[in-house]
Each structure stands twice: as structure tokens, then as C-alpha cells.
Symmetry: C2
Subunit: 133 residues, 2 copies
DNA sequence: TATAGTAGGTACCTAGAGGAAAGTAACTAC
DNA sequence: GTAGTTACTTTCCTCTAGGTACCTACTATA
């Protein structure tokens, strides 16, 4: 199996997990491209590869495959292969994946009310020039 | 200012944010090393640079500085510089940063009940051999 | 004959994140 | 005069995630 598929082994000596119970979740759910994939599947239901590819703009098929495999391995996504011609594959969120929904909802809510605060803070920081001290 | 400090500009043409309202939050809160830092600050209160450096194992001072600057810029962390000798700098979570607490709590809760499901799914997947289809 | 559609696989390459290690300012203590 | 302390900064280097591009098999359609 390709080394590219597996994440950088969660080695206790090199990972930021020790001080933080949420880092493992970040590795599983919030690594690059995984959240849009999970979001898309939970928001729009079962989808084919190309549908995901089109909906998630700028993702390359290679990376989409990688992430889907990873999510399948983690039990968050279910892959169904139909041996037709042309081949048809469908992806849907698993039961375990669905337990993330309230999390996603809360994050979306936090974003709706606080992202603008973050952006205002950035402008304030940038306008103030380089940090003194 | 060093290019290393700034994140890869959130360009609408290259980012996975379009299909997903939670990606921006991921960029801000859940990028590498930021969650342990925020967690540490919200769990153990105001801390000095070296305290964070010791608590978050294996983080290098360079990266810690980068992440703290980023979090300060985003208004999630407050930095207080005391011009003493030797210099003393204290970091604490901001009011805006504190609004993340319920999020963190929910994620920690999800982890507590579901991480083992993920690990079991992985073992099942790996034992089944390469994906057929 | 050639092209399109589907779900990827594979080889190659680059940008950039992040690590290692040394340097810096400014003062104190020995 | 030298070592220690703190909070970084800077330089150099490595590694790898991710992008580009091309390839597979099979059929329908023009």
C-alpha cells in the first residue's frame, strides 16, 4: 500500500496530542479536505465520485481518492462499488460519521457569529503595524 | 514581516471553503499545533512562553512563536509583554477565544465515546486487506 | 476511427511547512 | 569575564503533502 495513503503515524513522541484531548479528533476529522467531504456527504446525501469532485472545487482526483479511502478506513464513510460499465461508486456517510453532525452544526454556528470578529481582529492587528515588545 | 508567519492566503479559487461553512473555522482553530495551544491556555490559564513550550511536548520555539502570533492576530489569544530583565511574556485566552470552550468540550466528548470506534474500524479495514473493487 | 464518460492508479515534481541549531538583547549572579 | 535566563529570530535543511499529467479498462455514441 502506498505510503501516501497513510497519515504520519500517530507517534506519541512527535505528536501534539499529549497536552490535548482534541488533537486526535483534529487528525481524523479536520485534516485538509476532509471537512468539506464530510460536510458535503452529510448535507447532500449519497454521492458519486464525480459529484463530489465537482462540488468540492479545486480538489484533484488523487487527493479526493486519498481522503475518501482514509475516511472509509476510519469508518466515517461507506463506499459502495457497482461493477457496471462504466463503473459506478457511491459514497455515503456512515452511522459513526453521522454522530459528527451536532459537532458540525455547532462549528457552523460558531463561524456564523464569530468569524467576523476574527476578521476584525486581524484588521486591527495589521493596522497597528508590527508587534511592539 | 516573514512569509512564514502568514497562512497560505485564503484564496477563494484554491480553497475548500466553498462547499463547506466549517472550513474557515478549521483554518483558524484546528490547524497544526493550534488546538493544543488553545486547549492548554483554556485549561491551565495564563502562561508564559516556556511553560507552554514545556507543556506542549516537541513543539519548537519557532513554531510556537508562529502559532501564538497567528492566534494573537486572530484575536483568540492575548499577549502581555513585561519589559523586565529577563523579559517576561504572558499569554492568555481572549474573550473571543473563550467562546470556543463549548466547542472544545463537545469535541472532547465525541472523542471519549467515538475514538475507539474509529480505531476498531481501522483494524477491521486493515485486516480485510487491500480494498477490493 | 475517435472521443467521451467513469473511477480511479501511478510517476514525477515542487512549494512550503516545520524541524535543528545557533544567534541576539539585556541584565544578573558568580 | 563568563555563564545563565527569557523570548524569541534567523538560517539552513529536510520531508512530504499535494499538484500535474498521463495511464488503465470498458462501452456507447458520433
Amino acid at each position: 500500500m502506498a505510503t501516501e495513503t497513510s497519515r504520519p503515524a500517530a507517534d506519541a513522541t512527535t505528536d501534539p496530542e499529549l497536552a490535548c484531548p482534541i488533537s486526535p479528533v483534529v487528525d481524523i476529522v479536520f485534516s485538509r479536505w476532509t471537512s468539506p467531504i464530510l460536510w458535503s456527504l452529510q448535507a447532500f446525501g449519497r454521492q458519486r465520485f464525480v459529484e463530489l469532485e465537482r462540488r468540492i472545487e479545486n480538489i484533484t482526483p488523487k487527493v479526493l481518492t486519498q481522503r475518501l479511502r482514509q475516511l472509509e478506513r476510519d469508518g466515517l464513510v461507506v463506499r459502495t462499488y457497482h461493477p457496471e460499465v462504466p463503473p459506478r461508486v457511491e459514497y455515503e456517510i456512515s452511522e459513526l460519521g453521522r454522530t459528527l453532525s451536532p459537532l458540525f452544526a455547532q462549528i457552523a454556528e460558531w463561524a456564523a457569529t464569530n468569524i467576523e470578529h476574527v476578521e476584525r481582529a486581524r484588521r486591527r492587528y495589521d493596522d497597528a503595524g508590527a508587534p511592539r515588545g
